[in-house]
C-alpha cells in the first residue's frame, strides 16, 4: 500500500486567548490518495473551511492558530516547514480555489497576466511560452475564444467564467492537490453544473487529487469518492461515498440526509432535526450532536465517542450505533 498524498493527523485549530481558547477544529484526521477525490461536508461552524485553510497554513493568525497535529504532504509535515517555504508549496504542489472568484482576482490585471503570474512563480518559461501556456489553460477550462479573452479584465467575465479562470490559475503548474472551498456556492445551478463537470474533467485529465469542501450533500454525492462529515469542529463520520449515502452510521448524517428536500420526493412533510447548530467551540465534553440526537444515552454527555469502524472503509463517532452494529455482527457470527 502506498502512502497517501495528504494525511491530516489530529489537527486542531483554536481562536481567541490561549488561556481560554475556542477550538474550531478539534482532533481532525483524514487522508487523500494521489488522484483521489474527497468531499468534506458540514454546516456553518463545522470547521470544514478552517481545516482546508490549515493545509496551506492560511488560518488567520492572530486571532487563530493551529494548536496541534500534523499535515503530511507526500510524507513531509507542512506544519513543520519554515514559513518562508510555504509559497513554494502553494500553487506548485497544492492549489486552492474559493467561493467568490471576484475577490480572489486582481481587478486591474488582465486575466492573461494573472494566470501568467501563477506560472512565472513556479516555472521557467519566457513570455511567449507563458502566453501560449495561458491560452492552453483557458482552452482547458472551456473559456470560449481564448485568444480574444486573454487580455480582458475580471469584471468583463460572468461569475461562472471567473470561476473557470480561477481553476485555470489553480491548475497552471499541475498541482497534485486542488482544494476547492465551496467553489460553486455563489453560482446559479446551471452554471454550477458546468463548473462541477469541469473539476471532474481536470481530475481525469491531469490526475489532480481534489479536496472539495461543501455544505451541499448533492454536490458531494455527485463529485467525490470519499466523504468526511464534520460537525462542530469534529469528524463524525467518514467513508466511501456509497456507504455514507446508503448506510449512514452517525445519527447526524442520517438526520441530515432525511431532512434535505429532494426532487423525486413524494413526502408531504420533511423530517426535521430539532434545535440548531452549536456555536463553534461551545461543546467541550461528550458528543457534540447529543442535544439534537434522537438516540442519545447518558454516556453521550460524558464521553466523546471515538471513530468506530463500521466497515472496511467506513467509520463513525457514535456510541449508540456502534454498539448496535457490534451486537448485530455478533448475532450474525453465532449460529
Amino acid at each position: 500500500m502506498t502512502a497517501p498524498l495528504l494525511r491530516i493527523e489530529n489537527l486542531s485549530v483554536e481562536f481567541g486567548p490561549r488561556a481560554n481558547p475556542i477550538r474550531v477544529v478539534d482532533d481532525v484526521s483524514f487522508e487523500i490518495e494521489a488522484g483521489g477525490s474527497v468531499g468534506v461536508v458540514g454546516e456553518s461552524g463545522s470547521g470544514k473551511s478552517m481545516t482546508s485553510l490549515s493545509i496551506l497554513r492560511l488560518v488567520p493568525e492572530p486571532p487563530g492558530r493551529i494548536s496541534g497535529g500534523r499535515i503530511l504532504f507526500d510524507g513531509a509535515d507542512l506544519l513543520a516547514l519554515p514559513r518562508n517555504q510555504m509559497p513554494d508549496i502553494r500553487g506548485r504542489d497544492v492549489a486552492m480555489i474559493f467561493q467568490e472568484p471576484m475577490s480572489s482576482l486582481n481587478p486591474v490585471m488582465t486575466i492573461g497576466d494573472q494566470i501568467g503570474e501563477a506560472i512565472l512563480l513556479h516555472q521557467d518559461l519566457n513570455s511567449a511560452q507563458r502566453r501560449k501556456r495561458v491560452l492552453e489553460l483557458l482552452r482547458l477550462v472551456g473559456i470560449p475564444d481564448p485568444a480574444g479573452r486573454i487580455d480582458a479584465y475580471p469584471h468583463q467575465f460572468s461569475g461562472g467564467m471567473r470561476q473557470r479562470v480561477m481553476i485555470a490559475m489553480a491548475v497552471a503548474c499541475n498541482p497534485r492537490l486542488l482544494i476547492a472551498d465551496e467553489p460553486t456556492t455563489a453560482l446559479d445551478v446551471t452554471i454550477q453544473a458546468q463548473v462541477l463537470a469541469l473539476l471532474k474533467d481536470v481530475r481525469q485529465r491531469l490526475g489532480t487529487a481534489i479536496l472539495l469542501i461543501s455544505h451541499d450533500l448533492g454536490i458531494i454525492a455527485d463529485s467525490c469518492e470519499r466523504v468526511v462529515v464534520m460537525y462542530a469542529g469534529r469528524v463524525v463520520e467518514e467513508g466511501d461515498v456509497r456507504s455514507i449515502f446508503r448506510n449512514p452510521a452517525h445519527p447526524y448524517t442520517r438526520a441530515l440526509l432525511k431532512s434535505i428536500p429532494r426532487l423525486d420526493d413524494e413526502r408531504d412533510r420533511l423530517y426535521q432535526i430539532p434545535g440548531s447548530v452549536p456555536l463553534a467551540g461551545s461543546v467541550t465534553q461528550g458528543c457534540a450532536f447529543r442535544a439534537r440526537c434522537p438516540l442519545r444515552v447518558e454516556t453521550c454527555a460524558v464521553d466523546r465517542p471515538p471513530l468506530f469502524a463500521f466497515g472496511p472503509s467506513h467509520k463513525a463517532a457514535c456510541w449508540v450505533t456502534a454498539e448496535a452494529a457490534q451486537a448485530r455482527s455478533a448475532a450474525e457470527a453465532s449460529p
Binding site: 455544505h215 454525492a221 441530515l256 428536500p261 429532494r262 423525486d264 420526493d265 432535526i273 447548530v277
Partner: protein, 341 residues
C-alpha cells in the same frame, strides 16, 4: 390541491390575488457624462399569474430572472411600469398611499436574510408589536405583549425570549421571528423571498414545515420565491419557472416535476445535484451564460442556450400558452421532457 380551480379560462372561484401583465423596466445610463446611452432592463416582462386562497405558488429561477422583483411588485414595494395587481378584486397599483397602508394588513413579506430585515437595536417584542400598534390591534401595550407571546409560541419560540435582541438568536430562530412579524397582523397573502436559502441545511426543514403548518392553520396564500427546485417541491401547489423576466412554464407541481415541457425547466431540474451517488448522471449541461438583460436575444430569451433552438426561436417570441389544462408553456417546441437524455 386547488390547482384545477385556479386554471384558465374563467376560474370558478375568484383567486385571492392576481397579477395581470405586470412589468418592471429599470433604466440605467451607460457611459459617462451627457453622451451616455440609456439601457433599459425589463426585469419583469408582462407576467400574469394568480394565487388562490390557501394555495402556494412557487416562483423558481436563477439570479437575474426577475423573481424577487416580481415578489416586490406583487406587494407594491416597488412601482410597476405596467400592469395591475388585483387583491380580492381591488387594484393595488391604483391605491392611494393611505389605502396602500391599510392594505399592508392583508399582504406581507418574509425576507431571505432575517438578519438584515430585523432592526438590531430593538427587542423581539418591539419588532413584532410595532405594526400592531400602527393598526390599532390590541388595546394596550400589555395586551400586545400577550399577543406577541402567543405569536412566538405559534412559530416555535419560547415566549420568554421576547425581550431579547435579534443578535442573540441563531439564523433559524431569526427567520422564525421574521415569520412571526409577517403573520402578526393576520394577513392572507405572504410573499416569501428565498426564506430558507440563508439557513443551515439542518434548519431549513424546520422553517419549511413551520410555514406549511401556519398555512394550514390560517389559510394563508404564499408566493414562495426560490432558486432551488428541490426546496419548493414540498411546499408548492403550483410552480412558475422564470427566465430573464418572463414565465416560461407554469403548472401544477407534479406536472412540472414529472413532465416538464420547457427545455429550460428540464435543464434546471437535471442540473440540481441530488444526494444520491447511484443516481445515473443524466445531467443536461447548458452551454454558455445567462444573457445580459440589457442585451436580450431576439425571439425566445432562452434560444441562445437552448439545445433545441431552431431559426424560429431566434425570430419569434413564443407566447405562454396552455399545453394542458392549467399547464402553460412558452416554447415553440413544447412537449413532455423535450430534451432526450
Amino acid at each position: 390541491m386547488n390547482a384545477q380551480a385556479s386554471t384558465r379560462p374563467a376560474p370558478v372561484a375568484e383567486p385571492l390575488i392576481r397579477a395581470e401583465g405586470l412589468s418592471k423596466v429599470f433604466s440605467s445610463k451607460t457611459g459617462l457624462g451627457f453622451g451616455g446611452k440609456r439601457a433599459d432592463v425589463r426585469a419583469v416582462d408582462t407576467v400574469s399569474l394568480e394565487v388562490a386562497r390557501g394555495e402556494t405558488l412557487a416562483v423558481v429561477g436563477e439570479s437575474g430572472c426577475g423573481k424577487s422583483t416580481l415578489g416586490r411588485l406583487m406587494l407594491r414595494l416597488i412601482e410597476p411600469s405596467a400592469g395591475k395587481v388585483l387583491y380580492d378584486g381591488e387594484d393595488l397599483t391604483q391605491l392611494s398611499p393611505r389605502g396602500m397602508r391599510a392594505m399592508r394588513r392583508h399582504v406581507q413579506m418574509i425576507f431571505q436574510d432575517p438578519y438584515g430585515s430585523l432592526s438590531p437595536r430593538r427587542s423581539v417584542a418591539d419588532i413584532i408589536a410595532e405594526p400592531m400598534g400602527v393598526f390599532g390591534i390590541g388595546s394596550s401595550a400589555r395586551e400586545r405583549r400577550e399577543m406577541v407571546a402567543d405569536l412566538l409560541t405559534q412559530v416555535g419560540l419560547p415566549p420568554r425570549y421576547m425581550d431579547r435582541y435579534p443578535r442573540q438568536f441563531s439564523g433559524g430562530q431569526r427567520q422564525r421571528i421574521g415569520i412571526a412579524r409577517a403573520i402578526a397582523l393576520g394577513p392572507s397573502f405572504i410573499v416569501a423571498d428565498e426564506p430558507v436559502s440563508a439557513l443551515d441545511v439542518s434548519v431549513q426543514a424546520q422553517v419549511i414545515n413551520l410555514m406549511q403548518d401556519l398555512q394550514q392553520k390560517r389559510g394563508l396564500s404564499y408566493l414562495f420565491i426560490a432558486h432551488d427546485l428541490a426546496v419548493v417541491r414540498h411546499i408548492a401547489d403550483r410552480v412558475a419557472v422564470m427566465y430573464l423576466g418572463r414565465i416560461v412554464e407554469m403548472g401544477p407541481k407534479d406536472a412540472i416535476y414529472r413532465t416538464p415541457h420547457h427545455p429550460y425547466t428540464q435543464a434546471l431540474l437535471s442540473a440540481a445535484p441530488e444526494p444520491d451517488p447511484d443516481r445515473p448522471s443524466r445531467r443536461i449541461i447548458l452551454q454558455g451564460d445567462v444573457p445580459s438583460p440589457t442585451n436580450m436575444p431576439s425571439g425566445c430569451a432562452f434560444s441562445s442556450r437552448c439545445p433545441l433552438a431552431q431559426d424560429i426561436c431566434r425570430q419569434e417570441r413564443p407566447p405562454l400558452r396552455d399545453e394542458l389544462p392549467g399547464h402553460q408553456v412558452a416554447c415553440h417546441f413544447a412537449r413532455p421532457n423535450p430534451i432526450p437524455v
